[in-house]
Symmetry: C2
Subunit: 204 residues, 2 copies
């Protein structure tokens, strides 16, 4: 089965949209999805951004929130909450997502995104993350402890370094098995088509 890697950052608004859409679209395409949480902060810092470009460029930010509201409404979430502060600190959530088994990562990640952008919860709060984990049947205490272990911290750092190495500069990104990079939730369909061998007549 063809697969795509879905690289996402919990603070990222369009990662939220992608997390909502990716499984249904991939299933319809007959493509598997590998969920890859990473941290965008270190990559942004390397580009000279001290915070989200949506904060640095107010007009761009204003349109992003409006676009997010429209797009989320299309997906059934007519009221979007702006995290305060934005971007939220997604480190804890990313560590927990990293600590989880592959099969458990998608549901937890979707729950985090909805808590952040629909319920308006603070995803940097251990109590919030613990409650989400417990709601999915995990032992929250044990999971939070595991998420704080050195090997999980190292695994997340390694994932972030790998993201940077393969040219990722924003989230979400999709990467196919042959290394083709697609940036943005709007490129999900292209990434799925590519994974299945579509090349649109491009020179090899």
């Amino acid at each position: 089965m063809a697969t795509i890697e879905f690289w996402y950052e919990f603070a990222s608004t369009y990662s939220f949209l992608a997390a909502e859409e990716v499984e249904a679209a991939a299933q319809q395409a007959g493509v598997g999805v590998l969920w890859r949480p990473f941290l965008l902060g270190p990559i942004f810092a390397g580009q000279g951004y001290a915070t989200s470009p949506f904060n640095l460029f107010p007009l761009k930010g204003r349109n992003m929130w409006r676009d997010l509201a429209r797009r989320a409404a299309q997906l059934g979430h007519p009221a979007i909450v702006r995290p305060d502060p934005f971007p939220a600190n997604g480190l804890l959530a990313a560590r927990v997502a990293t600590a989880l088994a592959d099969a458990d990562r998608p549901a937890f990640s979707r729950a985090v995104f909805r808590a952040e952008f629909v319920a308006g919860d603070d995803i940097s709060d251990r109590a919030v993350i613990g409650r989400l984990a417990a709601g999915l049947g995990h032992d929250a205490e044990a999971l939070l402890a595991r998420a704080g272990a050195d090997e999980v911290k190292a695994a997340l750092r390694t994932a972030t370094a790998r993201a940077e190495q393969i040219g990722i500069y924003g989230a979400p990104s999709f990467v196919t098995a042959d290394g083709e990079l697609f940036w943005g939730s709007d490129r999900l369909a292209d990434a799925l088509a590519w994974a299945k061998g579509e090349r649109w007549g491009l020179p090899a």
Copy 2:
């Protein structure tokens, strides 16, 4: 008939894609299109960009060219030429597009974009623009003379000022009659739906 404004800049890669797609999509939606050439340079300068963000951020630029190639291939252009220098100077083309009658603007604009990104022509060259105009049945000499008139220069400056005033910060952008702003060729379908009254359950 509902309409959208299609704001485009001749140096902009995604404006090229939008110019290729907008008329067919709008016709299918039953929406009219008002072609609005403007200059992005002054708006970028106001954001602190001395050149295209695709030049300032190399990883982003690299992916943009690859994405453009994939997207253009989907539209039937499997080989894309990168203007050198990039971004091209689109001032002359924008003045000519401004000088043309509304009905003549789309075909001329598409011809400019194809010359630039498919044929690899220098669109800042009067001979190139004159040839494109002549190929569409215009009196090239007279048109180029009109494009240099003070009233056309002023009209383009006014259009650019209006773009900035309504919150445009990139190209292409689509704006509906009630002022809803959509940024990027990927939002054409949303803009057309909005123009026809779709609100996706958003609070009014």
